[in-house]
Symmetry: C2
Subunit: 356 residues, 2 copies
Amino acid sequence: MIESTIAAIRPPDEPAMVAAGELHGRLTKPAGSLGALEELSVRLAGLAGACPPPLPEPAAVAIFAGDHGVHAQGVTPWPQEVTAQMIGNFLAGGAVVNAFARQAGASVTVVDVGVATALPPAPPEVVGGPRLLAANVRRGTRDLTVTAALTRDEARAAVEVGIRVAGELVDAGARILLTGDMGIGNTTPAAALIAAFARVDPAAATGRGTGVDDPTYARKIDVVRAALARHAPDPADPLGVLAAVGGLEHAALAGLILGAAARRVPVLLDGVIAVSAALAAAAFAPDAVGAMVAGHRSAEPGATAALRHLGLDPLLDLGLRLGEGTGALLALPVVTGAVRVLHEVATFDSAGVAEK
Amino acid sequence: MIESTIAAIRPPDEPAMVAAGELHGRLTKPAGSLGALEELSVRLAGLAGACPPPLPEPAAVAIFAGDHGVHAQGVTPWPQEVTAQMIGNFLAGGAVVNAFARQAGASVTVVDVGVATALPPAPPEVVGGPRLLAANVRRGTRDLTVTAALTRDEARAAVEVGIRVAGELVDAGARILLTGDMGIGNTTPAAALIAAFARVDPAAATGRGTGVDDPTYARKIDVVRAALARHAPDPADPLGVLAAVGGLEHAALAGLILGAAARRVPVLLDGVIAVSAALAAAAFAPDAVGAMVAGHRSAEPGATAALRHLGLDPLLDLGLRLGEGTGALLALPVVTGAVRVLHEVATFDSAGVAEK
């Protein structure tokens, strides 16, 4: 399934991009005055192969949840059970991602791709409310300081979960997918993925996650360095990298991105977990970058390293470090606005406005 | 009216700010993980004197339009008639500000406070659609390189137009006001205002506006420098500065900001015209800064100088330089999201989520 998905990913459509650039020049505004929104709308025209590209509505957030064997190394002060407890919070609508999704009119799909502990009883599903998909590949990864986090087969299965979720959401009507994640400890494998794919030092790829203290931060960098030294992951073998030092939610997010790109639907990236997974997706299929929109610059330093490697400029830079898809949701109106301009704004001719 | 408005502006309410900070610590997210949104929500609690502060809904954009005698100096390649023509475009719903306002669910009010040429026939007003308020103080300013742009009485009348519009919009239910502007040539007086209030060199305060070429840009800087040399505006006398080197829309925007602050309603600032007016408002009443939210960092260099002087960090930085209120509208969901978190997110206790 990964191979056929990769084979379906195409480079951007040049004529659609040219048409979008020309249309911008005729709209009632000074040329270039919408800055990053103009570039974004041109990219999205190239992805869709159409000018204007479709409005990115409705939007769907997919939150992939997983746990991490490296939790045993003391890389975070939060108990592992919080992953499962937060799934309960997502399904009850009480998390920040729910508040932002309601505001943006986006659906929320929670995918258990690798939670280690028992999920709390789910509240009754409400039409249009958050829903849970059961797709547990393994009850958390192994400790990457001791052994590979996943077998290649497990990593492949998790990527395929993401591809399937992308397909289901697009089939159900979604015209943009937003990445979400939940997993206590998951900034540690994200840092390892970024160090491996973007070839940066573990100290530059590793951040304080939920806000760990100095000793924990030092330990976290040591853990990432040790994992890279032990596994020597090869960035030309993305499945191998995901298996060695990744997480189940990271692998599934890479699959979601590949699935979206294959369907020519944009995928709006959230924070450091998302961009670490995006590096894996780009290693699988370089043209997948054409489907990626960087929602924001996470406060995690690894996110900046990953975005630089991907050649993506983030839309927002608000010091966010929450995850869940929250930063992607805040950026969604910017993406929608960028496309809306090409649909709705009058031209100088049609509006009877003089040009300079 | 200016004096009584200034007298009604209060400093932020400390207990509400403390309560908002404490509430953030109990919500199901790592402390501080929403970055700039947490600071913003605390500021808005201080403005409202309540925790949580009211959701900023509904939102109202006020676009103040005016023309400029300095147009005669060749500071822009656009004909002056475009100001009036763009008002026609706003009322027909064809401009970028209209597309963004529809998306954000914001009303659009266009105020003719100083247009020089005849307005095109307005289309029939639609309920909930854009509307035009006639409040022309003068048919464009005088050329600030030759004489004061406005008399003190004219400047006062324009400020009062803004105060009145703020009051009407809040009375009609608006819980956040967004600044908009239209005026061919209006980045030149904005640069002069910024140079005067923020005490920066005209070269640092002046930008390329709609994208002028090198000779026009050099002329524009010379014009700003000459205006400051001629009038030597005193930043301690904001009405005098607005009269000497301002514009009618700049003065009205200063009034809108003062009016919003007096009603304890936030005002979301757009680009360089807005922040130049905000400097005047802050000179009238330093506590008015508590009502200001900087929507974005305009590509105009003067905007950055003004924001620094005001001590405001912008929410977006997307290279926008369109005006009309477009950047403020793009930032609105961030403001709403920041407040929504305090209203809707579950606490660790209520959600049964463990703390670290």
